[in-house]
Symmetry: C3
Subunit: 282 residues, 3 copies
């Protein structure tokens, strides 16, 4: 795809979300759950959060796309997460995985490992998380990492490029060529479908000074994945985040004000604004 | 009741809450739980949130009134919710039910159906939720609905008027004439005790652009239900929400700023402000 | 310690957190969980929240210090909390306990009582909570209290001074002389290591008009406990809270704006600002 083709598809994605208000339900952590919902609504989507196994079936069927975030594990997730992921896979429906805190605890590891058999269409994480997931799924034996530090990355986005491409290729093949994408958040954000690699620019250093900027980006990826391909969805979400982050930072001097301004800018951003945010196709 | 009698009772309710700081504990969803607490505190009440069965007993006994919101189901709710509702019913204590996401999942349906035997004094929901609850309780066979879409309404408030009245009448009879009310949120908000129907005006289109405006309204209904009748409690909460929403909207251009301004205006609103917000008695 | 020695240690604590970004994971209530995380990040720490038993082991080992807040109980806490506290005790690692809602429900009482055998290095609570914990642990038979009202205190900070000192002494002895501290929040805030008693001044009346000001203070105590002694950690957290509260109040007229401004001021406060906030050594 050329840069101008990409821009055109971003414009379409933002506009379709504004007109269709796609429902993008989540199974997500309890820390940033309201931020996820508010970000999804701010860009024009609709949110609903569930925990129980048969509610997972429901959202797989009713959602335009679904978001699963592994940030906080509850015992019932042992049933809910595999069942929901399987159902989404069978329905060939787009879903987004954020493997937050990968490596912490046996249940999270088991569930994240299990997703290899019915993978998401989009993986969204920081560099260390994406590398760790590629290792867990054994899709790229050559990646090296310092491992996540709790929920924070200790690797750079560039370090995760090979892991991200390998994951996206694995997803593409496993899902029968229906497309797949990986988004890696950092100073510049990488989005790849396994072939094309795009670096999206902007954002703000305040993104790391609030909890949930990554989690909510995953939720917004799911909103766009309800109306477009995994690659364009992940890129559109990343672009609108970088735009809103840059604009919000220009208006504030501290993180809580930033969070408010950031959500406001997500709401105020036009389709063209999102498309015109600087990015580079490698 | 005349309009001026209603206004006088709203003024009293707001003032009593300011002076008594009633404790209105909740069992509520994890998405908007902090918004519920902050809204309850902003109007002058006190908040406490629990999950476990014997904590349900505690809040039934210690609370001035209680709030149960079905937005996110946890496994332990199978024990907690019926036990708490029964205890509240036995104690003849006011409690508010928000049947969020009615229709999603077997546990939620079972628990909401079970509340028919020991009903809340106030039901608060959007039009589709109120219609769905009336159907589930079979209190009005004639209502038709397009069903909720996830957590969003696809019916108008006017569509829910008969269901709301039927529910309120059922509550009134089942609770031995202790009063009952139903509040339906929408462009204009309906509050009824089964006979009188009031439409409260104001609010803001931003209410739908943040998560939890409905949930937190339910929590605020419970605060007022700790000091006055179900009907006046539901109407006072609705009036102060519409006032604060209108005032907040005038100060902002986007939803996150709106949420902050809205909570601020809940805190700043006087008893007379709440009473004088425009409403119409049908 | 003299006032100037205390100030110097506060300056060091704030600076060390800024440079080391200590990970201070939490097991905390679902109401204010994002506020806890955002406050921890605002002062320069790193946050991670968990629920499951083996995740408790992980955070005990990986965290610089840990925060346990009893505000909302989940069934799995019956396994997670004792196991995590024991592991922390064995590792001689600092951890902070906030006994929110002590007295509500049998599980909370059982777990809080059990912590007597492997106590936290810091207890943070309001006056009624601190008195109730001293009673539950039978460390001071002479304290009298009106008991907490839900999650609110009905005792003054001064009323809790003896209980706080007795608790701190018990901790000091039980933890083998590794230090211990108790922080009591109120109009003026008390911090004691069992011998020295300091009253820290400032803050804002809006602290009681938002949910989570106490919970998040506990989380920030844990951040500082990752780099300094329990006493200095509790005092540094209290000082920066009082400073930020006072500064935030000067900028706003209502509680939601206050919360944003308060988190901003936590972020903006320098080490010297925190040390120079008025306090009195008794």
């Amino acid at each position: 795809m050329t840069e101008s083709q990409i821009k055109s598809q971003i414009v379409n994605a933002v506009k379709e979300v504004h007109s269709k208000k796609p429902l993008a339900p989540s199974i997500t952590n309890t820390v940033t759950i309201d931020f996820v919902a508010n970000a999804q609504i701010a860009v024009g989507g609709s949110a609903a959060m569930v925990y129980l196994p048969d509610e997972g079936d429901f959202i797989a069927e009713a959602g335009s796309a679904v978001y699963i975030n592994a940030g906080t594990m509850l015992p019932v997730y042992e049933q809910t997460l595999p069942r929901t992921a399987k159902r989404l896979f069978e329905l060939k429906k787009n879903w987004v995985l954020d493997p937050v805190a990968i490596g912490i605890g046996s249940l999270r590891t088991k569930l994240l490992a299990g997703f290899k058999d019915y993978p998401p269409s989009i993986v969204r994480g920081n560099a260390s998380e994406v590398i760790a997931l590629a290792k867990l799924w054994e899709v790229d034996g050559s990646v090296s990492s310092n491992g996540p530090k709790g929920v924070d990355s200790v690797d750079s986005v560039k370090d995760a490029e090979n892991a991200a491409k390998a994951l996206a290729k694995y997803i593409y093949e496993k899902r029968g060529g229906a497309g797949g994408a990986v988004a890696v958040s950092g100073v510049e954000d990488l989005v790849t479908d396994g072939e094309t690699v795009v670096y999206s620019k902007g954002g703000s250093h305040f993104m790391e000074k609030i909890t949930g900027s990554g989690c909510s980006l995953g939720g917004v990826c799911a909103v766009y994945a309800g109306v477009t391909s995994p690659f364009i969805a992940a890129l559109t979400a990343t672009q609108i985040y970088n735009l809103a982050g840059k604009r919000a930072e220009a208006r504030v001097n501290a993180p809580a004000s930033f969070q408010t301004a950031f959500l406001d800018e997500l709401y105020l951003a036009s389709a063209e604004d999102a498309a015109d945010n600087p990015f580079e196709v490698k």
